[in-house]
């Protein structure tokens, strides 16, 4: 029941948007719906902590503690993004950058997008999961292209083509899994269920599964933004409206990563530790290396944030490659922390872009002087992203590192640290240009509206609170991690 | 070694040392000047001329450059006072000195450095180009002489596991054979160079020069006159004296009193005076034979001293 409820919440917001048309208060419906998603996610997660069996709805939807955790992640980041959308839509409509009709379309699509992501994590079966992830591509393409200019067009083309191909490969992988499942005695939809697959993983044909896992990792890896199929990411993130970038980077990548996490468990059960690990490590290290190098010379704020997402996804993949309880705990916490930090940064970048009509850091330089509050938020966001305490990314990165070393991956950790150092240098240089280098004659000390600051402050506070206080995520994450620990 | 065991003789020896040096130091400088003059074929002033000069200077009015501060005035006092403390701490007459807690070779080096530093600061305080020049050159030489000096001390201290002066001297007395060992000879060489550099003698600096571009010590004290100059001159001569006394007791310790008796004290004082005078004459004679080095060649000389002292340490360890 609850899973249908969770799914229905954002859909209600879609209906509101379509029903009432453009009103300045209309986007708040989305915020409310997403907040409700968070509450529902918490309810399930805390219930699961106390060992109540997972529930399903008609066999196709199923909510266990990992799904609940992902629902929380989706809910929290979507809430921030919707909150940011309120301001975004108002200013776009006021400045006639978009028509009210487009605004309604945007509001509806964004909640539809949330709904598809929720569907992906609630899917009990890998087919539904695939459909849901493909649906996220379709809903977001229009969001990416919302601005309807040349850049938006180019970005959405690349986005949809690359992601569709990737997702198609994932479908091929899914087909192969189904083949293996059918030969292992499964039939029809039942054979595609997570629970069934995990339970019968030993019986699956290894030759088929090897190929399937490779295709799945490459396919869903596209959506995660892992090298070599990452190229859509910087373009899409830099061209879409800031709240959409926040959502895509903050949760869409993680939702796709969630699929990888689940498949990895089955792959390890069927094929043993080494093959899936090699795949994950290879893609992780490639992502880390390329993203960190590209970060170093990056002058566009949103592209930089996009590459930083690739880098963080690389970190997650490395953690997933290890697969031990510690590493997975770290991975899950990192998903949440990264979503929050990236959400905050993308929302701020939108505000920078609104004011300066650019996301080129040199053009937008001197933020800390010009707009102290916004600059402060960006500085803290960057600190969070770079893994400084008290933000939770510090703890999650450390935990992942501990897990990886414990799972005999110290060499990979060493390599990843080199990349991290380069990425650090890149982001700090970028931060320096953005925050400090002001030009003479610019107005300083401008006020930033509360509506803009509120989601940023909430996001940063949450990110810090999660990193400092044990309750409630200690228990929730542990319970969730147990499900995908090999 | 605690306070209760200190005898009158020990306290007396400190007093005698200080008095002897204060009275004798200007004479020693006079002696060196006379020796140089004679060797150069001149008559030269009498030995007691230095004291006469000092008396004359002390009677004059004190003057101070307009821009200078408290440091200019205090530096001569610090110079003399630190050197007197060094004299008091150095076991010249007896190895059983009363001020054992300060009678440490390293401590003495730092005390002497305090004097140099105060003079260098005073020179900068005058606000003239000469002051700065002298100060800069002095500190450059000090900076380079330090390593040679401390490593040479290490060579002497290593065999007795202590840098305490009485212990080193007593060690040499108990083991006369040490005196002829290579490490001693090498350390002696290093010491001599460093002492010449520290006390501003040839070939590092010419105490008799008045050519601005070459001077070091003279540039430092250019602004001093009257009683202050007297104190600086006295301080410089005290430094030379104590350094020579140190040299003589470290390398030729014979005659120093090891027992607390009157006879040995008298003998020790006489022998000390003779040794120091002899060393002074040797230095003066040597100065006639060498020319002053270019300032930028001085580091090479000091580097040579450093090499000597390192070799001294190495041979000390190899032999031990």
């Amino acid at each position: 029941m609850i899973s249908i409820l969770v799914l229905a919440l954002p859909l209600c917001a879609v209906l509101v948007a379509l029903g009432v048309g453009w009103r300045p208060w209309m986007p708040w419906a989305g915020v409310a719906a997403d907040a409700a998603v968070v509450v529902a996610g918490f309810a399930v997660a805390l219930r699961d902590v106390h060992h109540v069996a997972p529930t399903g709805a008609g066999g196709e939807l199923r909510i266990d503690s990992l799904s609940a955790f992902m629902v929380i992640v989706i809910g929290v980041v979507s809430m921030l993004a919707s909150w940011g959308s309120v301001r975004y839509l108002r200013s776009e409509v006021r400045s006639e950058q978009c028509t009210p009709r487009q605004a309604v379309q945007y509001a509806a699509l964004i909640q539809l997008f949330v709904a598809t992501m929720v569907l992906a994590v609630l899917a009990a079966n890998i087919g539904i999961l695939w459909v849901a992830i493909e649906a996220t591509t379709i809903t977001t393409t229009f969001l990416v292209g919302h601005r309807r200019n040349r850049g938006a067009l180019e970005a959405s083309w690349k986005y949809i083509v690359l992601c569709s191909v990737g997702i198609a490969l994932a479908f091929l992988g899914t087909v192969l899994v189904y083949l293996a499942a059918v030969h292992a005695g499964g039939h029809s939809l039942h054979a595609l269920e997570w629970t069934w697959l995990s339970a019968h993983a030993h019986a699956l044909n290894p030759a088929v599964m090897r190929l399937a896992v490779g295709l799945l990792v490459l396919g869903y890896g596209t959506k995660v933004g892992l090298v070599p199929m990452h190229s859509w990411l910087p373009d899409a993130h830099s061209q879409s409206p800031a709240p959409v970038s926040a959502l895509m980077s903050g949760v869409l990548l993680s939702v796709a990563f969630y699929a990888l996490l689940r498949f990895k468990v089955i792959a390890v059960l069927c094929l043993g530790e080494s093959y899936p690990r090699e795949l994950f490590v290879a893609m992780a290290l490639l992502s880390l290396a390329l993203a960190s190098l590209l970060l170093l010379t990056q002058r566009d704020l949103k592209r930089a944030l996009a590459y930083s997402s690739t880098e963080h996804m690389g970190l997650l993949a490395l953690g997933a490659a290890a697969g031990g309880p510690l590493a997975i705990t770290g991975v899950l916490l990192h998903i949440l922390g990264h979503g929050l930090a990236k959400g905050v940064l993308f929302l701020s970048s939108g505000e920078v872009a609104l004011a300066d009509a650019t996301s080129d850091v040199d053009a937008a330089g001197g933020l800390l002087e010009r707009r102290p509050a916004l600059g402060g938020a960006v500085a803290l966001g960057l600190a969070a992203l770079l893994g400084f305490p008290p933000f939770s990314l510090f703890l999650s990165e450390l935990t992942m590192m501990r897990g990886e070393v414990a799972d005999h991956m110290a060499w990979a950790v060493g390599l990843s640290l080199v990349a991290l150092a380069i990425a650090f240098a890149g982001l700090t240089t970028l931060g320096r240009r953005l925050l400090f280098a002001s030009r003479p004659g610019q107005a300083t000390g401008l006020h930033t509206p509360l509506l803009v600051m509120a989601p940023l402050v909430v996001g940063l506070s949450l990110c810090a609170a999660i990193g400092v206080f044990a309750w409630p995520f200690d228990a929730i994450v542990h319970a969730a991690a147990k499900l995908v620990t090999s | 070694m605690n306070a209760a065991g200190i005898s009158v003789w020990q306290i007396g020896s400190v007093a005698v040392q200080v008095a002897l040096c204060v009275v004798g130091a200007p004479l020693l400088v006079g002696l060196m000047r006379t020796v140089r003059c004679r060797l150069e074929g001149r008559v030269g002033p009498p030995v007691r001329q230095t004291w006469r000069d000092l008396r004359k200077l002390l009677a004059k009015q004190r003057t101070q450059p307009e821009q200078s501060s408290f440091f200019f005035a205090v530096a001569p006092v610090v110079l003399v006072a630190t050197t007197i403390v060094v004299i008091a701490f150095t076991p010249m007459v007896t190895t059983r000195t009363a001020l054992l807690g300060g009678s440490d070779l390293f401590a003495i080096v730092f005390l002497l450095l305090l004097g140099s530093v105060s003079l260098a600061l005073a020179a900068l305080d005058t606000g003239t180009a000469f002051g700065g020049m002298g100060s800069s050159r002095l500190m450059a030489i000090v900076a380079l002489a330090e390593p040679a000096l401390l490593v040479a001390i290490l060579a002497l201290a290593a065999p007795v596991h202590s840098s305490s002066l009485p212990v080193i001297v007593a060690g040499s007395l108990h083991h006369p054979m040490w005196l002829a060992t290579p490490q001693r000879l090498l350390a002696f060489g290093a010491f001599v160079i460093v002492i010449l550099a520290e006390s501003g003698r040839l070939p590092v600096d010419n105490p008799a020069t008045h050519l601005e571009l070459t001077m070091i010590h003279e540039a430092l004290m250019l602004e001093y006159s009257g009683p202050d100059l007297a104190f600086v001159v006295l301080g410089e001569s005290l430094r030379l004296t104590v350094l020579l006394a140190l040299l003589s007791n470290l390398f030729f310790p014979w005659g120093i009193a090891t027992a607390l008796t009157g006879v040995s004290f008298v003998v020790a004082i006489a022998v000390l005076a003779a040794k120091v005078a002899l060393l002074a004459v040797a230095v003066a004679a040597g100065e006639v034979a060498v020319a002053k080095l270019r300032l930028f060649r001085v580091p090479e000389l000091l580097a040579g001293a450093f090499v000597l002292s390192v070799l001294a340490v190495l041979s000390a360890l190899v032999i031990a």
Binding site: L218, A470 | A88, F110, V117, S135, S136, V310
Partner: protein, 668 residues
């Protein structure tokens, strides 16, 4: 004691929150109040631990998910906590005065309290996560503080980047090392790690040590990882530089001791030879740069590298001697190192705060622009003078005592008949001596050129005494220079308990003998109190004599002699640049300055010169020869990588097709 530890954390973070929320005028007072409260609480705990030897612990699982917080303050940590607490107290007082004309911003206020608190917690952290949490908090807070004056110049920003990158690389290697250690020993609590580390493979232990050493050395500013230090210390506000130089860099040393000795339980000689060599390099390189710098705070920063190098020599010697079985000599070296560390904190804190007063009064820290300050701001100058005497290791202040102890430990190391020490100890003594001499030159320059003589600029001309609280803050530390120098026996008990946590069998090799220091196994005692007493007596006597002899006339003020020229101007005096010239010439090969001589002639003539400009720029050779090539290589690689992202969707798809083919063919 646990309650007090809680109080430290709560009060400190309350200060951070208070700084964030308080109104502009009250901000600094709120922050100072809370940091001083935290510091005093920490000092109480630390002194109690040092005196009684009983550890203070605090464990909770409510804070920090997955692991919880584990604090345990033993004597080693307590020493560092105590040092930090004292310095932080003085700096807080100073900051209140400083903020009279430079109000503290919200973020600085928050960062200040966070910085102090995290520094107080780092030495108490007793698990990997807790430690790294505090460590990184310290890094980020100090980074924010370095950026306080970011509006002033681009140098501040670039300094911050250097600091951020190097400190982060350091933190990363520390984290990696500690994590490997934790995993291999099966627990992330320090107790478990210490218990099981002996069973690890030697190469792994070595790797862990090297990783940790790299990280901690970069925090401590050890050459060649020091590049951030002269930049950050120079550009940060002086109060922050004081905190960083007097408290934060110490924690690098703490880390080396904690990991090397407690967690890994000591190691083979080569570990410690590495430490010694780093120390020697750092000491010499730092002192050469200090002797030739003309920027007052850069000079102080390089001298930090120098002094930390000396401490590294000491702890390296301790480790080396301990690994070869000379526990008591090792204990002496450790004692000396820790004493020097405490002294360095005190006098470098003094110097940075006094330098801050100068900058406050004149707006510059370029020695060539200063001069004549002693008559204009006597109290601040006197404070700097105390620092100068202390750092130059002149009696009777504190530097002298620790320098003596360092020399003693090397002397004993020399006689320990370990073959490697035959080569190393003379080298160390030479380094110690050379740095001693160069430090003297550096600080004669700093004080003589900066504070004495003629004012060289209008700014120096118009200088006046800073607010009283600034002098009070700096004065607290200056008076400690005297106390530690005159009565070092006060430290003997405390330092011995630190030494005992590491050299368990070494015992207390340094003991107090009356008011003198005595070293067991060695003849003779050393009595700084006696030396101080003798100096003061002698000074008074000589001054008295001069007074008696020259009382007939008043002192006459006259113009200085200027080769016959009447007018003395500031342009004629020696500047810091010219003062350092002889040494610069000697150390040309190390400094590698770039010089340019620019002569323009008058008219047609070759003989009449219109003007001559001579400039030398002395960058850091390591920056140019080590860092820049690495950076440019990475940058070149990054530019190559950009070609991969050329915007063509076909190319992007080709990457995918390639990957698909690879997976199909190789992953079968």
């Amino acid at each position: 004691m646990t309650a007090l530890l809680v109080a430290v954390a709560l009060s400190g973070f309350a200060g951070a929150v208070g700084g964030l929320l308080a109104r502009a005028r009250a901000r600094v007072v709120v922050v100072a109040f809370f940091t001083i409260a935290a510091s005093l609480a920490a000092l109480t705990v630390a002194l109690d631990v040092l005196r009684t030897g009983k550890v203070a612990t605090l464990t909770t699982t409510q804070v920090l998910p997955f692991t919880g917080v584990q604090l345990r303050l033993d004597a080693l940590g307590a020493l560092f906590v105590a040092v930090t607490a004292v310095v932080a107290t003085a700096v807080s007082i100073y900051s209140v005065g400083y903020s009279r004309h430079h109000p503290m911003s919200r973020s600085s206020a928050c960062a200040f309290a966070t910085f102090v608190t995290s520094m107080l917690l780092v030495p108490a952290a007793w698990s990997v996560t807790t430690f790294l949490f505090a460590w990184e908090l310290m890094a980020v807070a100090s980074l924010a503080l370095v950026l306080t004056d970011y509006r002033r110049s681009a140098d501040v920003r670039s300094a911050a980047i250097w600091y951020a990158v190097l400190t982060q690389i350091g933190a990363t290697t520390i984290a990696f090392g500690l994590v490997v250690l934790a995993v291999k020993t099966g627990g992330q609590g320090f107790t478990t790690m210490a218990l099981h580390s002996a069973s690890m493979a030697p190469w792994l232990r070595g790797a862990v040590f090297l990783l940790a050493l790299t990280g901690f050395a970069s925090k401590a500013g050890v050459v060649p990882l020091h590049v951030w230090l002269p930049k950050a210390h120079a550009e940060a506000p002086s109060a922050v530089s004081a905190l960083m130089s007097a408290a934060m860099v110490n924690l690098g040393i703490y880390g080396i001791l904690r990991v090397g000795d407690t967690l890994l339980g000591g190691g083979p000689s080569w570990w410690w030879i590495t430490v010694i060599m780093l120390g020697v390099g750092s000491a010499i390189y730092g002192s050469i740069h200090a002797a030739t710098s003309t920027d007052l705070k850069r000079l102080l920063a390089y001298s930090t590298a120098d002094n930390i190098g000396l401490v590294m020599i000491a702890i390296g010697t301790a480790g080396l001697l301990s690994s070869t079985g000379h526990q008591s000599f090792a204990a002496l070296a450790l004692f000396a190192g820790m004493f020097h560390l405490v002294n360095h904190a005190v006098f470098k804190g003094t110097l940075f705060l006094a330098a801050g007063s100068v900058q406050y009064a004149t707006g510059t820290r370029d020695l060539d622009q200063l001069g004549g300050l002693f008559t204009r701001m006597p109290i601040a100058s006197t404070i700097f003078a105390f620092g100068t005497v202390a750092i130059t290791a002149l009696p009777p202040l504190c530097g002298f005592v620790s320098e003596w102890l360092l020399l003693q430990s090397l002397l004993h190391g020399l006689s320990s008949s370990v073959s490697v020490s035959v080569v190393l100890m003379p080298l160390c003594v030479a380094a110690l001596a050379l740095t001693g001499g160069l430090t003297a030159a550096a600080f004669v320059k700093a004080f003589g050129v900066g504070f004495l003589g003629i004012a060289r600029s209008p700014a120096a001309e118009g200088a006046s005494e800073p607010p009283r609280l600034m002098n009070v803050g700096a004065g607290v530390l200056a008076s400690l220079c005297v106390v530690l120098g005159v009565a070092p026996i006060a430290m003997v008990g405390l330092l011995n308990s630190v030494v005992r946590t590491i050299q368990t069998s070494g015992g207390s090799i340094v003991s107090s003998h009356g008011e003198a220091l005595a070293i067991s196994d060695a003849k003779g005692v050393f009595d700084p109190t006696l030396i101080a007493l003798a100096l003061v007596t002698s000074l008074l006597c000589v001054a008295g004599v001069r007074r008696v002899l020259s009382r007939r006339h008043a002192i006459r003020r006259a113009p200085a002699w200027g080769c016959g020229r009447e007018l003395q101007t500031a342009r004629m005096t020696y500047t810091a640049t010219s003062f350092a010239e002889p040494l610069q010439r000697v150390f040309d090969d190390v400094l590698q300055p770039s010089q340019d001589l620019d002569v323009s002639h008058r008219g047609e003539s070759r003989y009449f010169v219109e003007s001559v400009r001579f400039g030398t720029r002395g960058g850091d050779a390591f920056e140019r020869l080590l860092y820049q090539p690495v950076f440019s290589t990475v940058r070149r690689l990054a530019n190559k990588a950009r070609l991969l992202q050329n915007g063509s969707v076909h190319r992007y798809l080709a990457y995918g097709l390639g990957a698909l083919v690879v997976i199909l063919v190789f992953a079968r």
